[in-house]
C-alpha cells in the first residue's frame, strides 16, 4: 500500500520530468517568415488558395454538437471555409485546465499552433519575452472592421492596453464587460407569505440595516419550514475579484463599506493600495462578525463548500444569496426545479449615502495569439470580423445561413474557431433595452440586435404567457434578464453607481512567489474574524503581516509598473 503510493509519486515526478527533458530537446526551432497566401482586400477578403490554419482549441465536455460534428469540423469552421477559404486544423484540443497545460507544453516544445488562445497574462508575457508571437498592431489597424474597433473603443482602451507591449499589440484580447454590481437575490415568495415590506422606496437598493432585518425575519420565521434556517451563507473564500465571477461572496456587503478586497486602487491623492487592507474591509468583517454572533450568518460558515450552500438554497434553509446577475441561469434554476413556487427579487446594497459602490472589471478575458513567423497573421483579425461582426450583426442569418444560426442558438460558443468573446462594454444595458422593448412590443423581433437576445425574448414571452406553469429555463431567463439586468439598467440610468477603476490586474514578480502565502493569510484571518475566533482588531495585525510578508514589496512593484505606463 505504502509502497504503491511511493511508486506513484516517483512515477508522477518521473513523467513530468521526462516530458520536460524530451520537450526541451526540441525547443528552439523557430523558423523564419513563411510565404503569405494572397487574399482579396478588406476585413472579410477571401484567400485565393485555401489557407490552412492550425489551432489550439479549448473545449468543454458537452458542447452540444449535432450528430457527426466536431470541434474541427462544424458549422462554424465550414462557414469559415466558405467565406474566407480558411481551413481549421486542430493541433490540440483540451478541456479547462488541461488546455492551459497543453499550451505550456506547446511553448516548451517550441511547436506552437498558428493561432491559439492564451488564458493568462503570465503566459502571454512569456510568449512576448521569448519572441514567439506575431506583432498584430498593423494587421489590426488594417483589417479590423469598424464594428470590431467600436467594440474595443467602448472600453476606452482598457481592453487593448492589456495586450500592448511597448505600444505594440501582441495579442487580440478578449473583452470582459462590466457586470457590476453584485446582486442580492431574495426569495420573493417568502417575503409575500410573511407579509413583509422590503425596499419600500422601490429603488432596488437595500441598506445594510434593511438586509439585517430581512435576514432576521427569515431566521426567526423559517419560511422554508425546514426547522433549521441558517441566515446568510457565504463561501469560505468570501471574496472574489470579479463581478461576473463567483457567487456566495461578501462583495455586495463590502461595497457598502467601499471594500474591494484584492483589487489595486488609488485613493484621492493617487496613493496605491490593496483593497484587502482598508478600513472599509475591517468594517465589513466587523459587521459580518456581529451578524455571526447574532446567528444571522450560517453557523457552519468556513466549512461549507460551494455545493453545501447550493443545497441550503434548494432545500429552503436560506433564501438570500449574493452573486453575479446571471446566477438564475445556472444556479437559482436548481431552486426553482425543487420548489415551483420559488421567486427571486433582485436588489443591491447601497452605502449610507444611498450610492452603490462598484469597480470596473478587468476588461480583458483571455488572449488570441498568432505564432511568430506564420504566413498570414491577419487571418485572426478576419476571423474576429466574421464571428463578432458579420454573424452577430446579420439580421438575415436565420434564412441565409440556417446551419450557423442553429449553432448560435444551441451550440456552445467554444465551437467557434476564435475562443474569446468580443462584446461592447455596454453589452448588458444594450441587451436589456432590446429585450425590454421587444417584450413590450415596441420593436419587432427583426429589430432585436443579437440572436441571443431573440432567443431570450422568446423564452421570456413563453414565461409571461403562463408564469405558474412555465419551464424552469424560461423562468431563469426571465429572472436573469427582466429582474437582474433590469436592476443594473435602472441603477445605471439613475446614476446610482459610483465607479472606481482598479489600476492594475496583472501579476508582478513577488506576487508570483508570495501570493499563495498572502492569500492563505487573508482567507484564514477573514474567516477567523467573522466566526469570532479572533477579535476584529486582529485585522490591524493582519495588515502589518500582509505588508511584511510581501505585500509592501508587491505594492512597490505595482507602483513601478503603473509609473512606467
Amino acid at each position: 500500500m505504502r509502497r504503491r503510493l511511493f511508486i506513484k509519486r516517483v512515477l508522477s515526478i518521473a513523467t513530468v520530468s521526462a516530458l520536460a527533458v524530451s520537450l526541451s530537446a526540441c525547443a528552439g526551432g523557430a523558423g523564419g517568415q513563411e510565404e503569405a497566401v494572397s487574399a482579396a482586400d478588406g476585413p472579410l477578403g477571401a484567400y485565393e488558395d485555401t489557407l490552412v490554419c492550425s489551432m489550439g482549441r479549448s473545449t468543454i465536455a458537452n458542447p452540444k454538437f449535432p450528430e457527426g460534428d466536431s470541434y474541427e469540423d462544424n458549422a462554424y469552421t465550414r462557414y469559415l471555409k466558405e467565406k474566407l477559404n480558411v481551413e481549421v486544423k486542430d493541433s490540440f484540443e483540451a478541456n479547462g485546465e488541461d488546455y492551459d497545460r497543453q499550451v505550456s507544453l506547446a511553448i516548451a516544445s517550441g511547436e506552437l499552433p498558428d493561432v491559439m488562445r492564451v488564458s493568462s497574462k503570465d503566459v502571454l508575457d512569456e510568449l512576448v519575452e521569448n519572441d514567439l508571437v506575431e506583432d498584430l498592431t498593423d494587421v489590426y489597424d488594417e483589417y479590423a472592421s469598424d464594428y470590431i474597433k467600436e467594440v474595443y473603443d467602448s472600453y476606452d482602451g482598457r481592453c487593448l492596453d492589456g495586450a500592448m507591449y511597448d505600444g505594440r499589440l501582441m495579442a487580440l484580447p478578449g473583452t470582459n464587460y462590466d457586470a457590476a454590481p453584485c446582486v442580492v437575490f431574495i426569495r420573493q415568495d417568502w417575503v409575500d407569505d410573511l407579509g413583509m415590506k422590503i425596499d419600500e422606496d422601490g429603488d432596488g437598493c437595500l441598506t445594510i440595516d434593511e438586509l439585517e432585518n430581512i435576514t432576521k425575519t427569515f431566521v426567526e420565521k423559517d419560511p422554508g419550514n425546514t426547522g433549521n434556517p441558517v441566515g446568510l451563507a457565504f463561501a469560505p473564500y468570501l471574496t472574489s475579484g470579479d463581478y461576473g465571477g463567483s457567487g456566495y461572496t461578501m462583495m455586495a456587503i463590502g461595497a457598502a463599506y467601499k471594500a474591494f478586497p484584492g483589487s489595486w486602487l488609488e485613493d484621492e491623492d493617487g496613493n496605491l493600495y490593496n483593497g484587502s487592507t482598508t478600513e472599509g474591509m475591517k468594517a465589513t468583517l466587523a459587521k459580518l462578525a456581529e451578524w455571526f454572533q447574532k446567528g444571522l450568518v450560517d453557523p457552519q460558515f468556513g466549512t461549507r463548500t460551494w455545493d453545501d450552500i447550493t443545497a441550503l438554497l434548494t432545500n429552503g434553509q436560506t433564501g438570500i444569496t449574493f452573486g453575479p446577475w446571471h446566477l438564475p441561469d445556472w444556479l437559482l434554476n436548481n431552486v426553482r426545479s425543487m420548489d415551483p413556487d420559488a421567486e427571486f427579487s433582485t436588489y443591491t446594497i447601497c452605502d449610507d449615502n444611498g450610492k452603490v459602490n462598484v469597480i470596473h472589471n478587468n476588461a480583458v478575458n483571455g488572449y488570441m495569439v498568432v505564432r511568430k513567423g506564420y504566413s498570414n497573421p491577419e487571418v485572426l483579425i478576419k476571423i474576429a470580423n466574421l464571428f463578432f461582426d458579420e454573424i452577430v450583426n446579420n439580421k438575415n442569418l436565420e434564412t441565409e445561413q440556417p446551419e450557423v444560426y442553429q449553432y448560435v442558438t444551441t451550440v456552445d460558443n467554444s465551437a467557434r474557431p476564435i475562443q474569446v468573446e468580443l462584446n461592447k462594454n455596454t453589452y448588458l444595458v444594450d441587451e436589456y433595452s432590446d429585450i425590454k422593448n421587444c417584450v413590450d412590443g415596441k420593436i419587432s423581433m427583426d429589430e432585436v440586435r443579437s440572436i441571443e437576445s431573440k432567443t431570450n425574448v422568446e423564452a421570456i414571452n413563453r414565461y409571461l404567457a403562463d408564469p405558474a406553469n412555465s419551464e424552469v429555463t424560461d423562468w431563469s431567463k426571465y429572472t436573469s434578464r427582466m429582474k437582474s439586468m433590469e436592476l443594473i439598467d435602472r441603477l445605471t440610468n439613475e446614476g446610482k453607481l459610483e465607479w472606481d477603476t482598479p489600476v492594475f490586474f496583472d501579476t508582478t514578480e513577488t506576487m508570483r512567489t508570495n501570493n499563495a502565502d498572502l492569500n492563505k493569510l487573508q482567507e484564514e484571518t477573514f474567516v477567523a474574524i467573522v466566526t469570532g475566533s479572533k477579535p476584529v482588531d486582529e485585522f490591524d495585525a493582519f495588515v502589518d503581516a500582509w505588508s511584511s510578508r510581501g505585500g509592501e514589496q508587491i505594492t512597490k512593484e505595482v507602483q513601478e509598473i503603473i509609473d512606467a505606463q
Binding site: T15, S17, A18, E126, N228, T303, E523, V527
Partner: protein, 304 residues
C-alpha cells in the same frame, strides 16, 4: 536465510531465462524512473518552459532557501509530520490488531463478510468519502445529534483546530486499516501452527501466545511495513486533506502537499514544486535507511 544462500549457489546460466523475463520491467524502470531523475536539476534552476532544462538559469539553493523562509513553513511541516506519524502509528496498530482478531474467527462465512466490509472504504475515492464524512460530522449530522443528546455542546469538527487533526487521522485509519491488514493476515498464516499447539499444551493463554508467538512471527513484516511507510512521512495524504480542509483549519491542517498545490496552481512554479518534491523524497530515503539500520541493530534483521 537458508533460501537465499541456496539461490546464490545457482549459476547465472540456469537463471538467464528469468533474467530475460525481468528485462522489460527493468527497461521500463530505467526509462520511466531513472532517466527522468535528471529533471531534479529543475530544483536548482529558475525553470522556464520556453527555455527548457538546458537553457534555464541555475540558481543553486534559491528555492530551498525560499522554502524555509516562508513564514508558515514550520507550521506546515509540523502539521505534515504530526498527521503522517499519527496515521502511521494508529494505522499500523489497528491493522495488526484487526489481523490478529480476524485470524481467531473460525466461521468462514462471517470472516469473509467482515473482511469485505472493512476493505470496502479502501476502494472509494476521498472525493466521495469526504462528502460522507462531512455529512456525518457537520453541525446537523448524526454525530452531533448524539453529542447533543448526551448533553454536550455541538462541535464543528472540521472547522475546529482542536479536532481537525484527530478527524484526519481517524478517518484515514478507518478507510485503510482493513486493506492494510491483508499483509499482516498473510504473515500470521505463515506462522507454524505447531508453535501455537505446543504453547497451548504448555499452558500459555491466548494473550501469552499472541505476545510470544504471533507478534514475534510477524515482526519482519511489521518492520518492513513500518520502514516503507516512513518514506511517506512528508506526505500526509493530499486527496483526503484537500477535500476536508478549509481556511478555518489551515493552522492545524495545511500540509506540504496542499500548500504546494495552492502555490503551484496560482503561479506555475515548476522549480519550487520540484524542490519540495526532492526534499520530501530525500527525507523519506534517509528515514528508511535509518529504520533499516535500527532494525538490524535491535532485531538483527535487515529489511533489504
Amino acid at each position: 536465510m537458508k533460501k537465499k544462500t541456496f539461490i546464490q549457489k545457482r549459476s547465472m546460466r540456469s537463471q538467464s531465462m528469468y533474467h530475460m523475463m525481468m528485462l522489460p520491467g527493468m527497461i521500463f524502470v530505467l526509462i520511466f524512473s531513472y532517466v527522468p531523475m535528471f529533471g531534479i536539476i529543475m530544483a536548482f534552476q529558475d525553470y522556464v518552459p520556453a527555455k527548457g532544462i538546458l537553457g534555464s538559469e541555475f540558481v543553486g539553493l534559491k528555492h530551498f532557501k525560499y522554502m524555509f523562509s516562508l513564514p508558515d513553513i514550520w507550521q506546515i511541516l509540523t502539521n505534515t509530520v504530526v498527521i503522517a506519524v499519527g496515521k502511521i502509528i494508529l494505522g499500523t496498530v489497528m491493522a495488526i490488531a484487526f489481523a490478529i482478531l480476524l485470524n481467531e474467527i473460525r466461521v468462514r462465512f462471517f470472516k469473509k463478510t467482515v473482511q469485505t466490509i472493512v476493505y470496502l472504504p479502501h476502494f472509494l475515492s476521498w472525493v466521495v468519502l469526504a462528502a460522507v464524512v462531512i455529512n456525518m460530522v457537520n453541525l446537523d449530522g448524526p454525530v452531533n445529534h448524539i453529542i447533543q443528546m448526551l448533553g454536550f455542546d455541538k462541535v464543528n469538527f472540521l472547522g475546529s483546530n482542536t479536532w481537525f487533526r484527530p478527524m484526519i487521522i481517524v478517518t484515514d485509519v478507518w478507510k485503510e486499516f482493513g486493506y492494510n491488514s491483508i499483509v499482516y493476515l498473510a504473515a500470521i498464516t505463515a506462522i507454524d501452527p505447531g508453535l501455537h499447539e505446543a504453547a497451548a499444551i504448555d499452558g500459555a493463554n491466548w494473550w501469552k501466545r499472541v505476545w510470544h508467538i504471533t507478534l514475534p512471527g510477524m515482526l519482519p513484516i511489521i518492520l518492513l511495513m513500518a520502514a516503507m511507510s516512513l518514506t511517506s512521512i512528508l506526505s500526509a495524504g493530499f486527496d483526503q486533506i484537500y477535500n476536508l480542509y478549509s481556511p478555518m483549519v489551515y493552522q492545524t491542517g495545511d500540509v506540504l502537499d496542499t500548500y504546494v498545490y495552492r502555490m503551484g496552481l496560482i503561479s506555475r512554479q515548476y522549480s519550487f514544486s520540484t524542490a519540495v518534491g526532492l526534499l520530501r523524497s530525500a527525507v523519506g530515503m534517509v528515514l528508511m535507511l535509518a529504520a533499516n539500520g535500527l532494525a538490524k541493530k535491535f532485531t538483527d534483521r535487515k529489511i533489504f
